[in-house]
């Protein structure tokens, strides 16, 4: 609508001066600044984003590509984290833009469009996988990024992650301490880093407690439906587990339904513990025992890390693992006699 040219003409000033006035540069007189700012407000002036980022060679934006099947795998928690991050980024004048990869297109292509098309100055990667091609790609391009979740990629990178390993190890030992011996684990596909960590945590806990893990491990799609099916299969066998550790709350909720359908009572006959501290876990029957990252501002922390990365901090100094805290509710208790 209105450009610097419009403003300049209406004020009998040069484009240069208007631009510098709006940028509060020192070589513009205070009175001129006032007049310019006033006119800008009257004209609803808003700098053209394209022109600005073309000239400044930066987009003043951070991008995140939401994983394709995101609506399947509970995106709610992820999203509130991104909201937080966006607020912290806004303080530095950075917009957070979320992209959704077109149906046919690989997520990597979307990433390439963003990176090589210079649409963003930095990226946030969510839902990392152990071998994550996105990390390799971004590292090769040399664009700053922070991942939410670790990877096993060769090149070190900035990340923030919860200590799922310890969380699941602790939970396992708590259950063992309650007398459980057959503690099962329903995990997400182990291509996801978080899934692998939680699995390993469970394995470690079992080992420390001196318990066998044979036939006590299952993998399912990380949502209610998948875990429901996995749990159902477990409870059709002759000797079922007395405790169930699920990689996420959504999965725990699905598993709980299967437990009930098998005629067993969650919290008494079968203990169930999830992960995420989801709000909806407070409203299951009985309320779901779970664990969650012991920090109320993961998103903000992530944003700060990204800003420091943009400021040149070495990636090796930007690797945060946050403790995981147990949130006991009603779905776990002593092993049945």
């Amino acid at each position: 609508m209105s450009s610097l040219k419009t403003l300049a003409r209406s004020l009998n000033l040069s484009i240069t001066t208007v631009s510098r006035a709006l940028d509060d540069k020192s070589d513009v007189s205070p009175t001129t600044k006032l007049k310019v700012r006033d006119a800008a407000r009257r004209f609803n002036y808003q700098p053209n984003a394209a022109a600005r980022s073309l000239r400044k060679r930066k987009a003043d934006a951070v991008a995140v590509v939401l994983p394709a099947g995101a609506s399947q795998i509970g995106l709610g928690a992820l999203l509130s984290m991104l909201f937080e991050a966006s607020h912290a980024l806004a303080a530095d004048g950075l917009d957070l833009m979320m992209f959704t990869p077109p149906a046919g297109e690989a997520e990597l292509n979307t990433l390439q469009r963003i990176v090589d098309g210079r649409r963003a100055d930095a990226l946030i990667l969510v839902r990392t996988e152990r071998r994550d091609a996105r990390v390799d790609f971004l590292a090769e391009r040399g664009i700053p990024f922070v991942t939410h979740g670790r990877t096993e990629c060769a090149t070190p990178h900035a990340f923030i992650d919860g200590d799922g390993y310890s969380g699941f190890c602790d939970a396992t030992k708590i259950l063992a301490g309650l007398g459980h011996r057959r503690i099962a684990h329903i995990g997400a596909p182990s291509t996801f880093t978080f899934a692998e960590h939680r699995l390993q945590g469970w394995l470690a806990g079992m080992r420390e407690a001196g318990l066998p893990t044979e036939n006590l491990s299952a993998i399912s799609t990380p949502n209610e439906t998948g875990a429901f099916a996995a749990a159902q299969a477990m409870f059709q066998r002759e000797s079922w587990p007395t405790a169930l550790l699920c990689a996420s709350d959504a999965m725990a909720i699905g598993a709980m339904t299967a437990v009930k359908q098998a005629g067993l009572e969650p919290g008494r006959d079968v203990s169930i513990i999830g992960h995420d501290g989801l709000l909806s876990g407070q409203f299951t029957d009985p309320p779901l025992s779970t664990m969650e990252i012991d920090a109320d501002t993961v998103g903000a922390k992530l944003a700060v890390m990204l800003l420091r990365r943009l400021g040149g901090t070495d990636v090796r100094d930007l690797q945060t693992i946050l403790p995981v805290r147990q949130v006991p509710r009603m779905t776990h208790g002593p092993a049945p006699a």
Copy 2:
């Protein structure tokens, strides 16, 4: 990284020809096109988004500003709709960008930055309110947009919406037909259009069934916690409702917890019906009766409407109200004796 200039130099061609070759224009020889495309691939050429949209005077992007408290009010369903929409938009070369309004900043400001800064060619508005300042703003600016949900704004605009009125009216009559007389409604704040429609649908159903509505209506924040509190209050009174119509599934789940805590059995002592057809509703105990929009592709429909709007179709021809279908599960049944 690599620009048209780089490519042109490496091929001994002009920038013009390279640009036109990549655009598959007819005045470039087939062999040249091949060579250019090959080089572009080798160089990982990706047009600079800023330069392109500056020159073309369009951003090839559609923006949506996610409502501030979105993580509170179930964003999951919304998001999967937006995913769908993005896929349909991608077919026309449009990116879907989601923005989150910075903490302090009003949502309208973010909108202004996007619109006046020319960051998007069109907008999607979600979670409409009855008097929605965003609609007025966009209408005044003359930028194409489609809202998800109706408004009561004076200027007509393109929208897609579910027929919440009929859905709730139908559900009410179904419950009345099952012998219920005290059918309560827990609604969301009636500034939200969807909340008002659902409330009015319930009122109409009660009227048609000849039932009184006094003391049977409550308003709460549209999540589990809010509806839990609202329902709890209802069941502390001497004569409680035998049926509960909740404005959303999340609210129904919260209400169900309150019902159980009051020592009543959902589906037998108290019927509960929600709205949204959420996946998690299949995993409550008992599974939640609900209703949902009778179309599997609301997002895609929305995208098509937006594309037609961009193509110049009149807004009056772009107003879709989709039927709502009842999804009976186990939380409703005959009124208790």
